[in-house]
């Protein structure tokens, strides 16, 4: 549980940080700038697996 299953919902909320590649695997930017915070928080909300954590 709480592990990415590559549903890709984060991609729509924070497209600069999350991407679903052609193999259905998720790629993401591990260290995002502060300016992306709102988008990433929205991505946290929509992850069905609740797999995204923001670590300060």
């Amino acid at each position: 549980m709480n592990q990415c299953q590559h549903y890709g919902q984060c991609v729509f909320e924070a497209p600069d940080n999350f991407k679903l590649n052609d193999d259905d695997k998720l790629e993401y930017v591990a260290e995002a700038p502060d300016s992306e915070r709102d988008n990433i928080e929205a991505a946290v909300d929509v992850c069905p697996m609740q797999a995204i954590r923001i670590v300060e």
Binding site: Q5, D24, V44, Q50
Partner: protein, 408 residues
């Protein structure tokens, strides 16, 4: 109508995902006044999809499924373990089952659904899965070799069947439908899902209902409408749900199917008037989505409590701010993309749009092969209104875009 007391809190009734998102959204939209969330369950808001899977299969606690608590939520008051029993929209009061009557400045209706039960004697071994406590109660009984009858073949019933089978139970689905997940997915895909579930060892009795559940103190067998009798230790009832609207009785809200809301998630009265200080979010909200048409519908998909909660919070915050922004916020387009997922054995279903809008003739395979991996399109009047992936994910994204743009 008397004015609401501006010192009273915004009261959110329902402490699940929709209520949580509405509270978060109020704070993020700049509302700094008091917020109180009233909820019947003792648990703080948690994620429900694991209830039919991980929570049954492993020793998962509330902590593992709870939504993270955000800093801006620190001063939100949680009144858990109390049920709303009545509301007075003129006096701006809410009554709860502990006898308390509280004032509210604005009200958010987020009481969701409860599981429907079959109408038989309450003996041990009968279960539903809606809440975390439900899932934990069932977990202890899903032991290897247990004979499990699942009544109903929607997504929940099929997921529960898969989990029980993986735990070593003997599983039989009993359903009035011709095929499992027939209504949401249509005949073509449902037939393929029957094949896959059957291959995994799930027995499916379709076109039948439950005539009786036999057993003195605990379940011994299930008698079907065609006379067959299935020996059973556990019966799981996944036969749909009821909207929790009883506490709204006596108001003039339209509660004919859930609670009617406009596109700003404002509650709508039977006279067709949208109330600026009463909002509806989540499974219980029947609202129009301009992505499809102007028909108000309830949508029981996972993303809807979040999308409607955020929308309601933003609109309500603008109303309370009284800074002239309200009309603009209401007019902002709100057309959430319905999305759902279902994992059964190794089968991963993912969908966008409203698959249930179309008839069987308008469902076609867009890519791949149904017996392996496929993308399936659901068309209404030659416009794409839904797409289903069986084991496909990234391939769905262009179709999702097409649906969002009106399906042409």
């Amino acid at each position: 109508m008397p004015e609401a007391n501006p010192a009273a809190p915004v009261v959110i009734v329902g402490a699940a995902m929709g209520g949580l998102r509405a509270a978060e959204s109020l704070r993020r939209s700049g509302y700094t006044g008091a917020i109180r969330v009233v909820g019947e369950e003792l648990h703080a808001p948690y994620n429900r999809p694991p209830l039919s899977k991980e929570v049954l299969a492993t020793d998962v606690t509330h902590e593992a499924v709870a939504f993270p608590s955000r800093a801006e939520m620190g001063d939100v008051e949680w009144m858990l373990g109390v049920r709303a029993t009545a509301v007075d929209l003129d006096a701006h009061t809410l009554t709860t089952d502990d006898g308390n009557v509280q004032e509210w400045r604005a009200l958010v209706i987020a009481t969701g659904l409860r599981a429907r039960r079959l109408d038989f004697a309450p003996i041990a071994g009968r279960h539903v899965v809606r809440s975390l406590d439900d899932a934990m109660a069932l977990r202890a009984e899903l032991t290897p070799g247990a004979r499990v009858v699942v009544v109903g073949s929607g997504f929940l019933g099929c997921e529960l069947s898969a989990t029980a089978r993986k735990l070593g139970c003997a599983v039989t689905i009993v359903t009035p439908s011709a095929e499992p997940m027939m209504r949401p997915l249509g005949d073509l895909v449902a037939k393929e899902m029957r094949r896959r579930l059957t291959d995994e060892g799930v027995e499916i009795f379709s076109g039948v209902t439950v005539a009786a559940i036999n057993g003195e103190t605990s379940v011994e067998s299930v008698e079907l409408s065609d006379g067959r009798v299935i020996e059973a230790d556990v019966v799981i009832e996944s036969v749909g749900s009821h909207c929790n609207i009883e506490w709204l009785e006596g108001t003039n809200l339209d509660v004919s199917d859930g609670v009617l809301a406009d596109n700003a998630m404002r509650a709508v009265t039977t006279d067709g008037i949208a109330l600026d200080d009463v909002y509806v979010v989540g499974d219980i909200a029947r609202f129009p989505n301009p992505m499809f048409d102007d028909v108000a519908r309830r949508i029981e998909h996972w993303n809807i409590p979040t999308d409607t909660g955020k929308r309601a919070g933003a609109v309500l915050a603008a109303h309370l701010a009284d800074d002239g922004s309200f009309a603009d916020v209401v007019a902002k387009p709100f057309a959430p993309m319905p999305s759902f997922w279902s994992n059964q054995f190794e089968i991963k279903l993912q969908a966008y749009g409203l698959l249930g809008l179309v008839s069987d003739d308008d469902i076609r395979v867009l890519e791949g092969d149904l017996t392996e991996q496929a993308a399936v399109g659901y068309y209404r009047d030659d416009r794409l209104v839904g797409v289903l992936g069986i084991g496909m994910k990234a391939a769905l994204l262009p179709y999702r875009k097409q649906i969002a743009e009106g399906g042409a």
